[in-house]
Amino acid sequence: MSDTVLNKPTVSASPHIRSSETSTGIMLDVIIALIPAFIAAICLFGPKSAAITAISIICCVLFEFISRKIMKRSNTLSDLSAIVTGILLAFNLPVSIPLWMIPIGAFFAIVVAKQFFGGIGQNFVNPALIGRIVLMVSFPGAMSSWTNALAWHRDDIDTVSSATPLATLSELFKSRTIDSIDASSLPALQSMFFGHRAGCLGEVCAIALILGGIYLIARRVISPAIPAVFIGTVAVFMFIASKGNIYFTLYELLSGGLLLGAIFMATDYATCPIRLKGKIIYAVGCGIITAAIRLFGSLPEGVSFSIIIMNILVPHIERLTAPRAFGEVKEKKSGSKEAKQA
C-alpha cells in the first residue's frame, strides 16, 4: 500500500457522530407549537392580531440584528430565537394596543434583557416578559384595555371594553362572594376553554396552548415538569383559597396568562433550572407567587411577575440542587457520623 498520509484528512476529537438536533430546530419546534394559538388569536381578535405579531417579530429581529452589529458580535438571526421572542411578546399584548408601543417592548426584550447580557442562553430573565412588563408599567391604560373576543366580527370593533375574567375572579375573592360565581358575569367554562373571552392575544385559547404544549413535550423540547407543577401549584392554592370551589379553581387555571406562561415562558431554557429537581422547585415558586398576586395583590394577574422573580432565583436553585456525581456519597453525612463515632 502506497498511501501514507491521507489526502485531506479531517482530524477532530471524538465523538465523530452527532445527533441531528440543532438550536435552530428547537426554536423552530417552539414556533410550530405557537401556531395554533396564533390561528386562534386571528379568529378571536381579528386580522389586527396578525399585524401585531408581524410587527413584534420584525422589531425583535431588527433589534437583534442591529445590536449584534453594533456590539461587533456574530449574526445570530438564523437560530430563530428572536422570532420566538417576537411571537411571545405579541401574545402578551391586548389587541387594542397602539402599534407604536410594540417597538418599545421589543427593544427592552431583545436589547436590554437579551443582548446586553450576551445574547441567546445568557439572559437571566425571559426577554418577552421584560418587554411586556416594561409596557405594562409604562402604559397601564393601553395594556389593560380589553376587547371581547369575536367583537371584531360585529360592527362595534374595538369599542367593547370589558373586564377580564381574572378581574372578576379577584373581585369575587376579595368580596368573599366566591359562592355566587355562577351568577357572576363570567363566560361559560367552555368559552374559556376555546378562548371566547377578553385577554391578551395569545393567552386566551386554552386548547390551542395545550396542543402546543403537547407538541413540545412529544418532541422532547420541554419537560412536562415545569408546566405541570406550575399549573398544579396554582390549582392547589386556588382550591384551598376558595374552600374547595372547583369552578373557581378551573376558572383560575383557564384565566389570564397561566397556560401561556407555564408552557411557553417559564420553560425558556436560559432562565429555568437544568435539572428536574430544580425545575420542580422553580415551578412551585412560580405557582405560589402567581396565586399570591392573583389573590392578594392589587394587580389581577401575576404570571409574568412570578416567572421573572423565579428567573432571578434560578442560579441559587441550581446551586442548592447541584447533583452528586455518579457514585459520590454525601460527604457531610458520613463526616458527621464519623465525628459522632469518634
Binding site: M1, D3, T4, V5, L6, N7, K8, P9, T10, V11, S12, A13, S14, P15, H16, I17, R18, S19, S20, E21, T22, S23, G25, I26, T76, D79, S81, G119, I120, G121, Q122, Y269, A270, I274, R275, A322, P323, R324, A325, F326, G327, E328, V329
Partner: protein
Amino acid sequence: MRGNASGILHPVARGRGGVAVSHNKNTKDCEVVRMPAPQRVVLPMQQHIGAPCEPVVKVGDKVAVGQLIGDTDKFVSTPVHASISGTVISVAPEKIANGRVVPAVTIESDGEMRQFEGIEPPKVNNREDFLAAVRASGLVGLGGAGFPSHVKLNYPPEKNVDTLIINAAECEPYITVDYRECIDNSWDILTSIHLIKQYLGIKNVVIAVEDNKPEAVTELQKIANQKADTDNSVNVMVLPSRYPQGAEKVMVLSATGRKVPPGKLPADVGCVLMNVASTAFISRYLKTGRPLVSRSLTVDGSAIAQPKNVRVPIGTCIDDIIGFCGGFKAPPFKVIAGGPMMGISLVSTNVPILKNNNAILAFAEGSARIKPERDCIRCGHCSQACPMSLTPTNIMRYVKANDAEKLKKASVMVCMECGSCSYSCPAGKPLVQYMVLAKNIVREADSKK
C-alpha cells in the same frame, strides 16, 4: 442472582443519562475472515495501559509467530509477541494511531507464518499459575481500554469479589466483532468463564448483552444452559441498547445495582468486568499456549469498498487492512481507529493495529456529520445525557474561567469521556474536549499543591 424460568436476567438498575445512537451494525452477519500475513508488522512495545516493554530481540533476529519480543518486570504491563514469522528489521520508535511515537519492533515477513517451537499449553493448577498464564499470554482488554487482564483479575482477596461480568454490550455503533465472538466462539467464552470461576472463586457470572443482539443472547443462553452449570450461576442479562451501556461503571450498575465510587475500581464493589473477546481468548490460550498475536476487528464506514470483520496479525498496518477490504470506494473524509463515539481520527493510515483496536471506520464526505458551533442555549441536554450526573455546560464555563476549584467541586474527574454530551448538544459544542481540558486544569492545580 438467579435466572428466571427462561434464564434471562433483567438489569437490576437503570443508569441515568446516555444517548440513543444509531446502531449501524452493518457487518453483523459478516463472519470473521482471516487476513493473510502482511509483508511486515510494526509491534509497539506499549499496547496497553501501564509500563512499556523492553525489546528482547535485535535487528537481524529470526522470529516465529508467538515468540516473545518484548517484556518487562513491571507488574502493570503485558508482554508483546511476534505476530508473523520473519526477520526483525528495526528496533526503533514508530508512530502509533494516537500520534505518539513509541519504541517498536518491526518484523519483515518470510511468508511462512511459522509457529514458534517453544509454544505449549501452560500448566495451571491454582490461582497464581492462572494469573501468570494470563500475563504470559499478552492479553489486554480487547474492547478498547487495553488494560492488562492479569492485573484486572489479580484483585486483592479482601475485596470479596462475588460477580464476574462479561461485557458483550458493544454499545459503540458499527462495531460487531464482540457480537461475532458470541455467535462463533460461544464455547470458548463459556469455557473461559468456568476457568475464571474455578481459579478465582467468583460465585456469580453475568454475561451482559444489549437487546439489539437477540441472536447473541439466544446463542449464549443455549451454551450457558448446556455447560455444566449445576448451581445456575452463569446467566445472560439483556440490557437496553443505550450508549454507553458498555462503559465499566454503567455496566456494573446495570448488572448489580452497585455504584463504583469516583476513583475506585469495580473490584471495590465486588465486581470484575471482562470484555467478551478477552474472555474467550483465555480458554484458547490455556488449551494451546498460543499468545495474543492476532485480533478481530470491524472494518466499515461509507468509504470502505468491502466492509468486513477481519482477523489480522497485531501490528498490521491500517493501510494493508483497508487494502484487504477493497480499499476506499470514495475519498476518505475521516478515518477512525475505534468506534465513532470514542475512537481516534487518524492523520495517517500508515500506523499499526494495536491489541486494543476493535475497528477501523472510514467515512466519505458528508457521513461524518459535524454541526457548526453556536452559543449554548442552556437546554440541559448534555446533563441529561451524562451517565455520570455531571453538568457539562457548567464545566465548559468553569474551563473558560480556568477555575480549578469549581471544576473540582463539579467532580469533573469522574468523566469517562464517553462523548454523550457532545453527541447530544444542539449547539454543536465540543463538550468532551472541554471535559478533557477541565481534567488537565484540575490535575495541574493538584500538582502545584
